[in-house]
Symmetry: C2
Subunit: 272 residues, 2 copies
């Protein structure tokens, strides 16, 4: 069966979904994107994702010649054409081809479908291991295509028997390359870093859902504080909520994740 | 006349020089490159550029299935095919297509020809204006494709009537997004930042050429020190040496650039 993608103004068979090598994404790593999950014909939180995509492109001075509603229609049409039950849709806005190879002129638009595995029950029950690393992502509030540090660190993450890296800077933790982080402290309060991070869509939903009956605060969180938490978990579109069992080999809490489990069930109810 | 490019294993007409949108360069801004200048059939300092390219790819854990000599032969063949008197050759190594869209597996190779204007005599005599900005590039020693900050700042640079941006961090200047920086201080000593920078090929040649009769030091340089220098200039493959007339609106020295002019003539003699 043919998988379709969308490039610039056309739906194309995915194997023909190409862009010119002179595009600023290839030459200068310049572009923004967003990624959403779909189930059946439901594109989950698509309006939030499009809102953020347009914020990202504005911050990168990339002009899109399409409105939000047009891009939404392209995403829905792609889901319809590809007849897949669930997966992800990635909307990428590239810097486009530039006459001098540096100044963006016309952006490129790419919409592609991606398959991925949500974390299994086993992975959820075990939790993941994080390695900390001092780094502040550039323009963290922009969902740019820049994953240079995260990907460059992959061999080191493996070497440390970790599953992912947690960035921290100037004494405060910020986020993982593709996920936000939350902690439940000893007083049962839910904390998440406020600055130097991407405004995750899942993060914002969790903040709302938790506020029903938990004390919630967006605030600076130190590495020490996070290692002494009763629970730590990460959030993202492709992982929903996923408990963190250890950071730098240091076990978090008592190995159970009641708050994370509760919030995951609320999140799943919200998605339905 | 057809312009040729090289993608993966083939020479292709430049208009057909495309890569798949799932390449990690497009999706994750992950790749390394180098850029060299040619005149006639002479690829200037090509061995230095290839040496640096292989250092960059090693640091990004990108495996190339070609040796330096093979890539050199591709560059020379491209110059031969394109029949252009002078210009630039860009060798880009992309993260390639990754099954999970994150872990690099097979790198992609792109070699393209680029035209650009060397600075005119008028621009050299006038010098350029820089705007300073606090930022440390990630993995600065790697010539990665990451130009997110430099390009994002373009509207601000224009707003400040500047030609380019000079990054500084923790009190020390580092470099421009595409050039290294040198200062001649009041004692006639040539200084250039030692850390947090790309090891420019032109920079290394200038250090050698200047050492003939100038005191030269690779060392930390503060913003204050640079604004009080007698001369400031930038170096790069596409600009050779180019005087800086002002930084943040503050005029540098007395508006003449004798040391920069002297070193430019030595550099041009070396290239010949």
């Amino acid at each position: 069966m043919v998988t379709w993608s969308f490039v610039d103004d056309y739906f194309v068979e995915d194997e023909k979904a190409v862009i010119h090598v002179r595009d600023l994404s290839v030459q200068r790593g310049y572009g923004a994107f967003d990624f959403l999950r779909f189930e059946g014909d439901q594109a989950i939180f698509i309006d939030d994702h499009l809102e953020r995509l347009f914020r990202s492109t504005r911050q990168l001075n990339l002009e899109l010649n399409k409105k939000k509603e047009e891009i939404k229609a392209i995403c829905l049409e792609l889901i319809r054409r590809n007849h897949i039950r669930e997966g992800g849709i990635r909307i990428t806005v590239t810097g486009g081809i530039s006459p001098d190879g540096y100044h963006p002129v016309h952006s490129g638009l790419i919409v592609t479908q991606h398959s991925f595995q949500l974390p299994s029950k086993e992975v959820f029950h075990k939790g993941i291991a994080l390695m900390s690393f001092e780094h502040q992502r550039q323009l963290p509030e922009v969902k740019s295509i820049d994953y240079l540090m995260g990907i460059q660190l992959l061999p080191k993450i493996k070497e440390q028997d970790a599953d992912d890296v947690l960035f921290h800077f100037n004494g405060s933790v910020t986020e993982c390359p593709r996920a936000n982080i939350f902690i439940v402290n000893k007083e049962g309060k839910l904390l998440t870093p406020a600055e130097g991070i991407l405004a995750g869509i899942t993060r914002s939903k969790i903040l709302q859902l938790a506020a029903e009956d938990l004390k919630v605060e967006e605030t600076a969180v130190s590495l020490d504080e996070i290692k002494n938490a009763s629970e730590v978990f990460i959030t993202s579109t492709t992982k929903k909520l996923l408990p963190v069992a250890s950071i730098d080999g240091c076990t978090i809490g008592n190995g159970t994740f009641p708050i994370c489990t509760l919030l995951l069930s609320r999140y799943e109810a919200l998605v339905k």
